[in-house]
């Protein structure tokens, strides 16, 4: 499977994959908003026939905060392509881009409390930590874990360390 940065031409394929995989869906305009604000952050996994079989839709937090912070709006992989390491790779590419292009300090996401596969991916494979519990976050009333991963190599941390050591 080909893993590459998402382009405008990929957005409808991402929307399609999202509608097949997850109950949290968005209209095309929201995909446009991501791609036309942070073109480097979203990635797709594509099969040999050009079909999008997995994607990560990502952004930077817009509210001014101390450190630039990345956020995963949505990630999913079509069922026949799961357990190939695609989500893991998509996530890593997006994370690297957040740091390289936006100097991100950390990355956040929400996940359903019952989503074992995703939690295992984030926590065990990628090293995320739960930093908040949000009651009834989802439309159907399910709670969400707010998860976070702090980029160790980020410039922000380096700055702090430089101050400490000087």
């Amino acid at each position: 499977m080909d893993i590459r940065q998402a382009t405008i031409d990929d957005l409808l394929g991402m929307q399609n994959a999202n509608l097949l995989n997850l109950p949290e869906n968005y209209t095309f305009k929201y995909y446009l908003y991501h791609a036309l604000t942070w073109p480097e952050l979203s990635y797709v996994a594509v099969d040999p026939r050009g079909r999008i079989v997995g994607y990560i839709l990502a952004k930077m937090e817009e509210e001014p905060s101390e450190e630039p912070c990345g956020h995963v709006t949505s990630i999913s992989v079509l069922r026949p392509y799961r357990r190939l390491g695609l989500a893991n790779k998509l996530m890593k590419q997006s994370q690297e881009a957040m740091v390289a292009h936006y100097n991100a300090h950390h990355i956040t996401l929400h996940v359903r409390k019952s989503n074992r596969a995703a939690i295992s991916l984030y926590r065990d494979t990628l090293g995320f930590e739960v930093h908040a519990m949000e009651k009834s976050y989802y439309a159907d009333g399910e709670d969400a874990y707010g998860m976070r991963y702090i980029f160790t190599g980020s410039k922000a941390i380096n700055d702090v360390e430089r101050i400490k050591t000087s």
């Binding site: 080909d2 509608l19 100097n103 439309a139």
Partner: protein, 883 residues
């Protein structure tokens, strides 16, 4: 002061009120605003600008989505805006308001005209210029956009975005040189750049891209290297990719190669990086390679496979490239590895090589060997290790899918089902196995059995929306719309119907599949309704770009913006649009041929069913209204409800008096965006011939001929055209002459039509689609004879029968089409039945070919496919799924 200006001037008191009105509008104090307007209008009822602002305020105060109660007000506001222009035609305000209202209605052309008029009255009005530039861009009037940008720059030269906006306008207008000059001009005159890091990076990247587009690789490379050196651009991703591409273009191959290596370090799953790397060594893997080149490519990829053990890409690529024994060895290793790791995706991954029939056959042979070895408990590695039982399970799964793949020359669904049966006995809880079973049954022509199997898969993992959607899709294929809707509603919003939620969310697959399902069930009205809903979604996709004309200038995401503009220009080449448009056009053609179809003939049971459904919907709506009321949403009154769908059953669509015009509207985008597809021209032929446009129809034939001269539909149409021509006696001389000049290059005059047809058939004697095409061709030939010969049907059937012979792969969809064709050709029910039986003998699982009665009986008796043995009902038991 001109007369108009004098008339416009209000006395002090009213002038004050007018200012107030403007402020109220901006503060969204619409009620107060309207009151102020009314006070002015009482004294000066003909004051155009007040009228305009009142219209604008009134319009802005309306709820969104528009409600029943607000509808008249909306019309009033629109009317008022038009009157305002009439009262004061030289005011920029009246025109501006007209433009704004047209814009909210997404009537871009009218908006663009109104803004142009407004600017004529007030050329230097900044918001006006900005809006009108957006509209020029939106309606692709690029030279006007450039002019607008120029003007804007003279008014606001100190702002960066004025320059960059001009740059982009030039770029869109096809003038990259000017665009680059504007950029360099800007850089020359600003000392400190106020833009943020990411903004600078976006601009820089776009400048480099423009150089590449203009073919200025050296310049591009120099700029890019400077941007990288100065940390304007990060080396991650695009910038480095562009660098590699340009290095290769200017012939600095070693550096290009190193740069691709660096890219692969960043992402070793990106196929373009591998392709680019190999290109620097003169190896283009998108073309067929010579033996020596193959060896070199494989060697390079093997090294990468070693460096990146976690990336499947280099290993998988070698399967595309290797040939012969090398392919066999590599495929075997790849398959064993996949089976041992138990990756369900192995089949979807490897089937990419099936485009090459030899490779497909080799993979089949390997799988048979592996299954045999595993069944004997033998090792797959020539050693003492014994594979775990799951390896055999996945091998069965693979082989089952392989044997029923559409390009398999001799598919055997029976064997597939048997293999899956064994696997299921071993592991009854694996959804994948049921999914495979569903797929096999679907391909074998048993949509109902397939749906039942998919339902089993779904029931094993109820949380998974993917399985839910698949099951729904399979129910739609089986014609059960209600069951499908019940299923999808498990994952849609609760306060509205599943269909309306999925429409709002632009769920293309659902709209198409449900449209298709209604169509197969003969409910053309609802089918049209779903297809039109999909067409509307594409309109939304197009309209969505509007806000980004200004947004992207602000965020400076220029490259992404250019990509958006280009994407939108070919939006409707999307296969989703194509499919729905063709399906809807086919319905319109059907309505044209048989207008009685527009009069719904529904049985009393259906009538009752519908009434019940309507009542239920009404109740649900009331409930939702009450709930909304309780939660303080709206008052729950009818006027406060959004305007309801005025054609809930699609009957208005179906009752069209202009089916061919409706068809043309859907076709229009295809003419340019899908001209490389033969279906585009064969469907256009059907429209044109019905409109009596012979030259147009002939052009379609020529275009189709250029795409695929052997297309079976085209073949029938050529002979259809011949027949139509013969009966068209009143053609004007020039038309006749033009046709005589062109048509013989498609249907040679020296061969008889019978020969033409026979030779087509003998060229394609094992292709079901072409056999059907020849049968249709023959019917055209016979129908051109007056009177139609009595042996016509017998001869047509003789050809059709070839579809069911042993050396022709059984293609159930073509068999279905053939049955329909036979019926429409006037065959007697017994003749149709005999042919149907021949088909089911050849494809015993093809329940879609059974009569409605047979299908109904089967469903009411439950799934008897396991014990009765197929659509034939002959009970020979050769399809037991759980052997």
């Amino acid at each position: 002061m001109s007369a108009a200006a004098k008339q416009r001037q209000l006395p002090n008191k009213e002038a004050g009120l007018f200012k107030e009105l403007l402020t109220q509008y901006e503060l969204k104090q619409y009620k107060k605003g309207i009151k102020a307007a009314d006070t002015i209008l009482k004294k000066f009822p003909n004051h155009g600008e007040t009228l305009a602002l009142k219209a604008l305020t009134l319009h802005a105060s309306l709820p969104f989505p528009i409600t029943v109660g607000a509808l008249p007000k909306q019309e009033e506001a629109e009317q008022m805006a038009r009157t305002a222009v009439k009262k004061d035609i030289t005011s920029h305000i009246t025109w501006h308001v007209l433009g704004i209202i047209a814009k909210t209605k997404k009537d871009w052309d009218e908006a663009s005209r109104a803004f142009a008029m407004a600017r004529k009255q007030d050329n230097d009005n900044i918001p006006l210029i900005r809006d009108s530039i957006s509209l020029y861009l939106h309606t692709r009037q690029y030279s006007s956009a450039v002019a607008g940008r120029h003007h804007y720059l003279t008014l606001r030269p100190q702002i960066r975005s004025s320059w960059l906006g001009l740059m982009i306008a030039h770029h869109l207008n096809g003038d990259i040189e000017e665009a680059l000059e504007v950029y360099d001009g800007l850089m020359g005159c600003i000392k400190t750049d106020g833009a943020s890091g990411p903004e600078k990076a976006q601009t820089a990247l776009h400048v480099v891209r423009m150089c590449i587009e203009a073919g200025e690789y050296k310049d591009g490379l120099e700029r890019l290297e400077r941007f990288l050196r100065n940390d304007v651009l990060s080396a991650r991703g695009e910038a480095t990719q562009l660098k590699a591409e340009m290095l290769a273009k200017v012939g600095r191959l070693q550096e290009a190669e190193d740069t691709y290596r660096a890219l692969l370090e960043q992402n070793s799953d990106n196929l373009e990086y591998y392709r680019g790397f190999l290109r620097t060594r003169g190896l283009d893997i998108t073309e067929t390679l010579e033996a020596e080149a193959v060896a070199k490519t494989l060697h390079a990829l093997d090294l990468f496979a070693e460096s990146y053990p976690r990336s499947a890409a280099p290993r998988r690529l070698t399967l595309d490239i290797a040939q012969g024994e090398a392919f066999r060895d590599r495929a075997r290793t790849y398959l064993i590895n996949g089976l041992e790791r138990g990756v369900p995706s192995l089949f979807v991954d490897v089937k990419g090589v099936y485009q090459d029939a030899t490779k497909m056959a080799v993979v089949g042979e390997i799988m048979e060997e592996l299954v045999a070895e595993l069944e004997k408990n033998a090792s797959l590695h020539n050693d003492a290790t014994i594979a775990p039982p799951t390896t055999l399970l996945w091998a069965y799964y693979y082989l089952a899918l392989h044997l029923s793949h559409p390009s398999h020359p001799n598919p055997s669904p029976d064997r597939s089902l048997k293999l899956l049966g064994i696997a299921l006995e071993h592991t009854p809880t694996l959804p994948e196995l049921y999914m495979a079973k569903a797929m096999v049954l679907k391909r074998a022509g048993d949509p109902y059995g397939a749906a039942v199997a998919m339902e089993e898969a779904r029931s094993l993992d109820l949380q998974d929306r993917f399985l839910n959607g698949k099951a729904a899709k399979y129910w739609l294929r089986a014609g059960d719309v209600k069951k499908a809707e019940d299923l999808v509603s498990l994952f849609t919003k609760k306060d509205t119907s599943a269909v309306s939620d999925l429409t709002d969310l632009q769920c293309l697959w659902f709209l198409t599949e449900e449209g298709d399902s209604y169509r197969r069930n003969g409910n053309l009205a609802m089918a049209l309704k779903r297809y039109q809903a999909l067409v509307n979604v594409f309109q939304d996709y197009e309209d969505d770009q509007y806000d980004f004309h200004t947004y992207c200038m602000r965020r400076m995401t220029f490259s992404a913006y250019m990509a958006l503009m280009r994407y939108e220009d070919q939006l409707r080449s999307h296969p989703g649009y194509f499919r729905a448009a063709i399906a809807a056009i086919e319905i319109y053609l059907k309505i044209h041929d048989d207008p009685t179809l527009t009069e719904e003939s529904i049985s009393p049971e259906e009538e009752a069913e519908r009434k019940k459904a309507a009542k239920k919907a009404q109740k649900a709506e009331q409930k939702a209204r009450k709930a909304a009321h309780a939660s303080g949403g709206d008052s729950g009154k009818k006027e406060d409800q959004p305007v309801p769908d005025e054609d809930p059953t699609g009957s208005k669509l179906l009752k069209t008096e202009t089916p061919l015009e409706d068809a043309l509207k859907l076709f229009a985008p295809l003419e340019h965006l899908a001209s490389e597809r033969v279906e585009t021209w064969t469907i256009a032929y059907e429209i044109d011939i019905r409109r009596g446009r012979y030259l147009g129809a002939l052009k379609c034939l020529s275009e189709a001929y250029a795409v695929d001269a052997e297309d079976p539909k085209l073949h029938g149409q050529i002979l259809n055209f011949r027949r139509k021509l013969a009966s068209a006696t009143d053609l004007p001389e020039p038309v006749k002459a033009a046709i005589e000049a062109v048509f013989p290059s498609i249907l040679p005059t020296e061969t008889s039509p019978e020969e033409f047809n026979a030779s087509f058939l003998s060229r394609h004697s094992t292709s079901p689609r072409h056999i059907l095409g020849a049968a249709q061709g023959l019917l055209e030939i016979k129908r051109a004879i007056d009177p139609v010969p009595s042996d016509t049907l017998a001869e047509v059937i003789a050809i059709l029968n070839q579809i069911t012979t042993d050396n022709v792969p059984p293609a159930v969809p073509i068999m279905l089409e053939a049955v329909d064709f036979l019926r429409s050709a006037g065959a007697a029910p017994e003749q149709v039945d005999t042919f149907r039986k021949r088909c089911t003998d050849r494809a015993p699982l093809a329940w879609v070919l059974a009569t409605e009665d047979e299908q109904k009986r089967r469903k009411t008796q439950g799934m008897d496919m396991d014990d009765e043995g197929g659509a034939n009902g002959n009970g020979n038991g050769n399809v037991k799924a759980d052997v």
